[in-house]
């Protein structure tokens, strides 16, 4: 409740909140809002020579190179991209947090092993992993989300590890130990909250990159498979049209940017609100 109130007080957070809610509502209500079916390659959706149509007319935001309505595709694409952006990125941050915390807290052989594994994953070209998984697994939305999570947790783990190491050295952790607090209590009640800013930053900042990574994977054949739209693959499918049909690149680009920005604004606000040490400071 306090969080909501605090959030609503900040104009930028409010703006972010409105956009995010709007996007989510539009994604859920896509079938009701969309003027056309997102997969319908309409006969009059292309010019006689086969060029996509610019925004205006019956197609609000124009059509793509197959004559599909861009607006409808963006609406349905929001479903895919939100799942990717939130779930995949969320899982990545969660894995990173888990491994980073455990490795940073435990030390010793287990911690070392975990960190060496992280190093190994970091040295491993992520794209290659994705491609191989692409060929081995049957691409679907959830597989894609999993692949992204598997590829993206590494940096989070690394940073969380460093931070945890620093936190463990701090006096209040020793104070907790002197009170008799168990490992779980220390990890959950005292270390985790301190990692929230990092988690929030990576969680929100990562949304845009994750959405684009999904597009790259689509391009490699592991993304969500056509014709299912996602914001990323809408851009990727048409990226070479960026000067002949700029709306195909820049409109979805702007949508990704705006959404990611909104999440970020919320994240920034949340970080401040959740941080009691900022209370009463300038």
């Amino acid at each position: 409740m306090r969080i909501w109130k605090a959030m609503l007080r900040q104009p930028s957070a409010l703006f972010g909140l409105i956009i995010v809610v709007l996007v989510i509502v539009m994604a859920i209500a896509a079938p009701l809002i969309a003027p056309f079916s997102p997969d319908d390659q309409m006969f009059d959706g292309l010019s006689m020579e086969g060029a996509p149509l610019p925004p205006g007319g019956p197609y609000l935001l124009g059509t793509d190179t197959l004559g599909r309505d861009l607006f409808s595709r963006l609406l349905f694409g929001a479903r895919t991209s939100l799942v990717i952006g939130l779930v995949a990125n969320g899982i990545a941050v969660a894995i990173g947090l888990f491994i980073g915390i455990v490795a940073g807290y435990i030390r010793g052989a287990v911690g070392n092993l975990l960190m060496r594994f992280t190093d190994l994953m970091m040295a491993f070209p992520a794209l290659l992993l994705a491609i191989v998984l692409a060929a081995l697994l049957k691409p679907s939305l959830w597989i894609v989300a999993m692949v992204i999570a598997l590829v993206n947790w590494v940096q989070v783990a690394r940073i969380v590890y460093t931070e945890t190491r620093g936190l463990v050295e701090r006096d209040f952790i020793m104070a907790e130990r002197s009170l008799g607090a168990g490992h779980f209590r220390i990890l959950l009640v005292h270390i985790l909250p301190h990692l929230m800013p990092t988690a929030i930053v990576w969680g929100t900042l990562g949304i845009a990159t994750t959405v684009l990574l999904e597009a790259t994977l689509s391009f490699l054949g592991i993304g969500v498979q056509p014709p299912q739209p996602s914001w990323g693959n809408i851009i990727f499918e048409s990226q070479s049209y960026f000067d002949t049909a700029p709306w195909l690149v820049f409109i979805p680009g702007a949508v990704i940017l705006l959404t990611a920005l909104s999440f970020n604004l919320i994240g920034d606000a949340l970080r401040d609100i959740l941080d009691p040490t900022q209370r009463g400071r300038g």
Partner: protein, 306 residues
């Protein structure tokens, strides 16, 4: 210190071996038979079998892996399936270009990132801060291919300030490095900003102000070196991220680096080249991290003491 470095080297070697093993296993798990690809469509099954034998693909996987690792120890990374030539010279011929590009990209990324991040931190909460953070956001969210082409259209094709493609002169580096750097700059700007805000609140910055130093000196001499420490570790981590960006940028700007080689090899399942590129990039990442570890003590004497 020597101990530490020695230990890092052993670790690095183990990591490389691990990367090699995983890549090897993954690649051979792929449902694509190199022999079929090589033999071409006019081939009979007998030809395919003969080629498979020539490549040693009929041996058990573990044996193939030992052969491969044995080869590496002798500086032999195998022969490309499609180019029918040794992989190592291919990599070596292209490596300098990629290194130049990555170095330039990192310089751009770090310079822009640090500059913007510092400005934003100093002007925290103000209009400039907001603008910089917005810009960093655009950088983070922009698809690289589009950025590359945009820069190319504007600065090379239209304005003619830079050559459109190629490699060799400093002029050639500018646009690719910018493309590569713009994206990362957004990340760095954010990180530098928060690190900088943190540092500017430190007691020693207050001390510096009490000495009557100019604000530029306070920011650059006193605050920046402290804020930059976490950034250096980040650069080490970042090299891995860079590798995938390199593929796109090299493709657009006709940059003769290993990114293009990797891309083509992946398209053709040229396993020896993929292995080679993987190892080289893993090596780059490991060295990057090692460098970050080595540079850090030069900036922070406290680390030096340990």
């Amino acid at each position: 210190m020597t101990f530490l470095i020695l230990r890092r080297f052993v670790q690095a070697a183990l990591i490389l071996l691990g990367v090699a093993a995983i890549t090897f296993l993954l690649l051979y798990a792929l449902p694509a038979d190199p022999a079929v690809l090589i033999a071409g469509r006019s081939a009979t099954p007998a030809t395919v079998a003969a080629i498979r034998h020539e490549l040693g693909l009929d041996q058990p996987l573990i044996l193939q892996f030992f052969h491969y690792v044995g080869g590496i120890l002798h500086g032999d990374l195998g022969r490309s399936y499609t180019q029918k030539t040794a992989v190592l010279p291919l990599l070596l011929a292209r490596l300098p270009a990629t290194l130049v590009l990555m170095a330039a990209g990192i310089v751009v990324e770090v310079t822009i990132g640090i500059t913007l991040g510092t400005i934003a931190a100093v002007r925290r909460g103000g209009l400039v801060d907001r603008l910089v953070m917005m810009a960093s956001f655009v950088g983070v969210s922009a698809p690289q291919f589009v950025v590359a082409l945009l820069l190319l259209y504007v600065f090379a094709a239209t304005l003619g300030w830079f050559p459109m493609s190629g490699y060799g002169t400093p002029d050639h580096v500018v646009l690719p490095a910018m493309t590569l750097g713009v994206l990362g700059a957004g990340w760095y700007a954010r990180m530098v900003r928060s690190a900088m805000i943190d540092v500017l609140n430190q007691d020693y910055v207050r001390t510096a102000r009490a000495k009557g130093l100019s604000s530029s000196r306070i920011v650059f001499r006193h605050a920046l070196p402290n804020a930059i420490l976490p950034i250096i570790a980040m650069i080490g981590i970042d090299i891995g991220q860079f590798m995938s960006g390199v593929v796109v940028v090299e493709a657009v700007y006709g940059w003769p680096g290993i990114g293009q080689l990797a891309w083509q090899a992946i398209q053709q399942v040229d396993i020896p080249i993929i292995m080679g590129v993987t190892l080289v990039s893993a090596l780059a990442i490991v060295i990057g991290n090692l460098l970050a570890d080595i540079i850090a003590p030069f900036i922070d004497p406290r680390i030096r003491a340990q």
